[in-house]
C-alpha cells in the first residue's frame, strides 16, 4: 500500500523538531501503524526511507528491533497482557489464559474474522494496579481479574461493530 499524502505530510511536519531527518523514524512508524491497521506492511519501508533520506535497511531493522512495531497483521483489537513480576504475583497468567480461552487463540494468532489478537508484554509500569492489560496503544485497563475478560471483550466487539457501521 502507498502512504497517503496526508500521512506523509504528518511525518514531514515532525522534521523541524530534530537536527537530522532520521530521528523521526520511530514517530513515523508509530503514525503508520496508527492509521494502517496496527502493523507495518513491507512496502511502507522504502516509502519511509525515501522521506527520511536513509537506506531502507535502516528502517527495516528499527521496525524489527522494537516490540511495539508489528511486522505481521494483528487483530482490530490487540490485547496485550503484562507479564512483569508484579503482575504475575497478582494473577497475570490466569488473566492471559482467560483471554486466550475466551477468544480461542494463542499469542501470535488472529481470530478468524480478524477482530482480535493476543500477546504478552513486558512490565507496563502499572505494578501498583496489577494485573494490567493494554488494548492496542490505549490507556491501560488496570486491577483486572480473569472474570473481567468476557465483559472487556464484549465492549470491544461492540466498538468494532460501531466502527464498521460507520464505514459502511
Amino acid at each position: 500500500m502507498a502512504l497517503s499524502d496526508e500521512l506523509k505530510a504528518r511525518i514531514r511536519a515532525e522534521l523541524p523538531k530534530y537536527p537530522e531527518k532520521r530521528a523521526v523514524l520511530l514517530t513515523a512508524l508509530h503514525f503508520i501503524q496508527e492509521e494502517c491497521g496496527g502493523w507495518l506492511e513491507a512496502d511502507v519501508i522504502p516509502e519511509v526511507a525515501e522521506i527520511l533520506e536513509i537506506p531502507p535497511i535502516d528502517v527495516k531493522e528499527v521496525a524489527s528491533f522494537y516490540a511495539m512495531f508489528n511486522e505481521s497483521p494483528i487483530g482490530k483489537r490487540h490485547v496485550r497482557v503484562c507479564t512483569g513480576l508484579s503482575c504475575c504475583l497478582r494473577g497475570a497468567r490466569q488473566l492471559q489464559d482467560a483471554f486466550e480461552d475466551e477468544l480461542n487463540i494463542r499469542p501470535g494468532e488472529v481470530t478468524e474474522e480478524g477482530s482480535f489478537s493476543i500477546g504478552s508484554v513486558e512490565c507496563l509500569g502499572s505494578c501498583g494496579s496489577a494485573p494490567v492489560v493494554q488494548i492496542n496503544t490505549r490507556t491501560y485497563l488496570e486491577n483486572l481479574s480473569p472474570a473481567d475478560a468476557p465483559a472487556i471483550l464484549e465492549n470491544l466487539r461492540r466498538e468494532i461493530a460501531e466502527d464498521e457501521a460507520e464505514t459502511a
Partner: protein, 428 residues
C-alpha cells in the same frame, strides 16, 4: 500519615492544568531564576542539595551538570529519561499523570543553568495516557510563555519535545536512549566519549531521569537546606517508592529516604495478607539483588544502607513476595524479561540471559540437577562486568541472587523433581 510532598499533589489531587499548578506555587522558581540569576549559582544549589539521580544509579545530579563542557559549543541538549521500564517501577508515571508542569519547570530551570537549547523527553511508547497529558501541559507552557523564544523577557530560547519510544527496555540505558532518539536500534554506545561531551548528534548532552528533573523547582525555590532536611545525609529529599506484589495496599508513595523497609511494607502498604509472612523483597526493581525477610528488618531505604545490605536502591521499586510464592518462578520471570530485552550486541548478555532462562525453566519443570544450580552461578559471574552496558549486570544480579539467597528452594526442586510450591505459588 503526614508525609512531605515535594513532587506529587496531596492525596488524589491533580495539578495537570497550569492554573492548578500555579495556584500551588508552580513556576515561581522559574520566574525568579530565568534571566535573573547566574546559571552557575543554580548548578551550585543543586549540587549542595545532594540531589541524586532517580533513574536507578543514584549519581549526583549537580555533579553531572558540572561535567558539561564550558567551551561555548552549541547547541546543547537535555535528554530526559522517561523510558520507565524497570519491572516494578511506576513512579515517573505519577509525575506525568498528576504533575507534568513540575517536570517542565525542572527542565526549564536546568536549561537555564546549563545553557541548553532544547530538551527531548524520551517517553516509553506504551505510556499513551501520560504522553497525552504531558503534551497538553507543554502546549499550555508555550502559551503561557514558559517555553519558546525570549522566555520571561530573558534572552533564553528553549524548546521541549516529547519523543515516544516503541517498547525496548534497553532504551532506558542512557546511550541506548540516545541511539533510539536519533532513529536507530537502541543498542548502547561505548563510553568514552561521555554524553556530557558527545551526546545527542555528538553535541554536549545532559541526561537526567524525569523524577530527578521534577525535584529541581522545589530545590531552587526553597533552597538546598530545605531539601537536605528530608531523607538521610547521603540520600537527601523524598522519592516516589512504588510498592507492589503481595501487599494489601500496593501503590506509589512519596516518602523521604531512610524509612525502614519493613515499616514501609507494613505501615505504608498495609503489609502482606492476614496469616501470611514476607518471604522475599526486591528493593529497587528486578535488576537489583533480592533480599530475604531477615535482611529487610529495620533496613533504612537509602542508597548506602541498601548497598551495605547486599542490594541496591535502584528505582525504589519494592516488590514483595509472601510465603506462598516460589523463588524459582520469580527468578524465571526475571530471566525471561532480560532474555527478551537484551539488545543482542554483547555475547555474554545475549547468550547469558538465554542460559539463565533455560536453566530456571529446567529446574522449575523438575528436570534440573544440582549441577544446573551451580551453572546458574557460573553464568551469572560470566555476565557481570563484561559488557558495554549494565543490562547483563542487572540480569546477573536480579536473577542470580535468587539462587544465592534461596538456594534451598532450588535444591528442593531438584530433589522433588518438581515445584514444592505448585499448589500455592503464582503461575508463570
Amino acid at each position: 500519615m503526614e508525609q512531605p510532598q515535594l513532587l506529587l499533589p496531596e492525596g488524589d489531587a491533580n495539578y495537570s492544568a497550569i492554573a492548578d499548578y500555579k495556584d500551588h506555587r508552580g513556576y515561581e522558581a522559574a520566574e525568579a531564576t530565568i534571566g535573573k540569576t547566574d546559571p552557575e549559582e543554580v548548578v551550585s544549589v543543586v549540587k549542595e542539595s545532594g540531589l541524586r539521580g532517580r533513574g536507578g544509579a543514584g549519581f549526583g545530579a549537580g555533579m553531572k551538570w558540572s561535567f558539561l563542557p564550558k567551551d561555548g559549543r552549541r547547541p546543547r541538549y537535555i535528554a530526559c529519561n522517561g523510558d520507565e521500564s524497570e519491572p516494578g517501577t511506576f513512579k515517573d508515571r505519577q509525575i506525568l499523570e498528576r504533575n507534568p508542569h513540575k517536570l517542565i519547570e525542572g527542565l526549564l530551570i536546568a536549561g537555564w543553568a546549563n545553557t541548553i537549547d532544547a530538551a527531548y523527553i524520551y517517553l516509553r511508547g506504551e505510556y499513551s495516557g501520560p504522553y497525552e497529558n504531558l503534551c497538553r501541559a507543554i502546549d499550555e507552557a508555550y502559551e503561557a510563555g514558559y517555553l519558546g523564544k525570549k522566555i520571561l523577557g530573558s534572552d533564553m530560547d528553549f524548546d521541549i519535545y516529547v519523543h515516544r519510544g516503541a517498547g525496548a527496555y534497553i532504551c532506558g540505558e542512557e546511550t541506548g536512549l540516545m541511539e533510539s532518539l536519533e532513529g536507530r536500534k537502541g543498542q548502547p554506545r561505548k563510553r568514552p566519549p561521555f554524553p556530557a561531551v558527545s551526546g545527542l548528534w555528538k553535541q554536549p548532552t545532559l541526561i537526567n531521569n524525569v523524577e530527578t528533573m521534577a525535584h529541581v523547582p522545589v530545590i531552587v525555590r526553597e533552597g538546598a537546606k530545605n531539601f537536605l532536611s528530608y531523607g538521610t545525609e547521603k540520600s537527601s529529599g523524598t522519592t516516589i517508592f512504588g510498592i507492589s506484589g503481595d501487599v494489601m495496599r500496593p501503590g506509589a508513595y512519596e516518602l523521604p529516604f531512610g524509612m525502614p523497609l519493613d515499616e514501609m511494607i507494613n505501615e505504608v502498604a498495609g503489609g502482606v495478607a492476614p496469616g501470611r509472612t514476607i518471604k522475599a523483597v526486591i528493593p529497587g526493581g528486578t535488576s537489583m539483588p533480592v533480599l530475604t525477610a531477615d535482611q529487610i528488618k529495620g533496613l533504612p531505604m537509602d542508597h548506602d544502607s541498601l548497598q551495605k545490605a547486599g542490594s541496591l536502591l535502584g528505582t525504589g521499586a519494592v516488590i514483595v513476595m509472601d510465603d506462598r510464592q516460589c523463588m524459582v518462578r520469580a527468578a524465571l520471570v526475571i530471566a525471561r524479561f532480560f532474555r527478551h530485552e537484551s539488545c543482542g550486541q554483547c555475547t555474554q548478555c545475549r547468550e547469558g540471559t538465554g542460559w539463565l532462562y533455560k536453566l530456571f525453566s529446567k529446574i522449575e519443570n523438575g528436570q534440573g540437577t544440582l549441577e544446573d544450580i551451580d551453572t546458574v552461578d557460573e553464568v551469572a559471574n560470566y555476565m557481570e562486568g563484561h559488557t558495554i552496558c549494565g543490562l547483563a549486570d542487572a540480569a546477573s544480579w536480579g536473577a542470580g541472587w535468587f539462587v544465592r539467597r534461596f538456594r534451598d528452594e532450588f535444591e528442593a526442586h531438584v530433589e522433588l523433581k518438581g515445584c514444592p510450591f505448585a499448589e500455592t505459588s503464582f503461575e508463570v
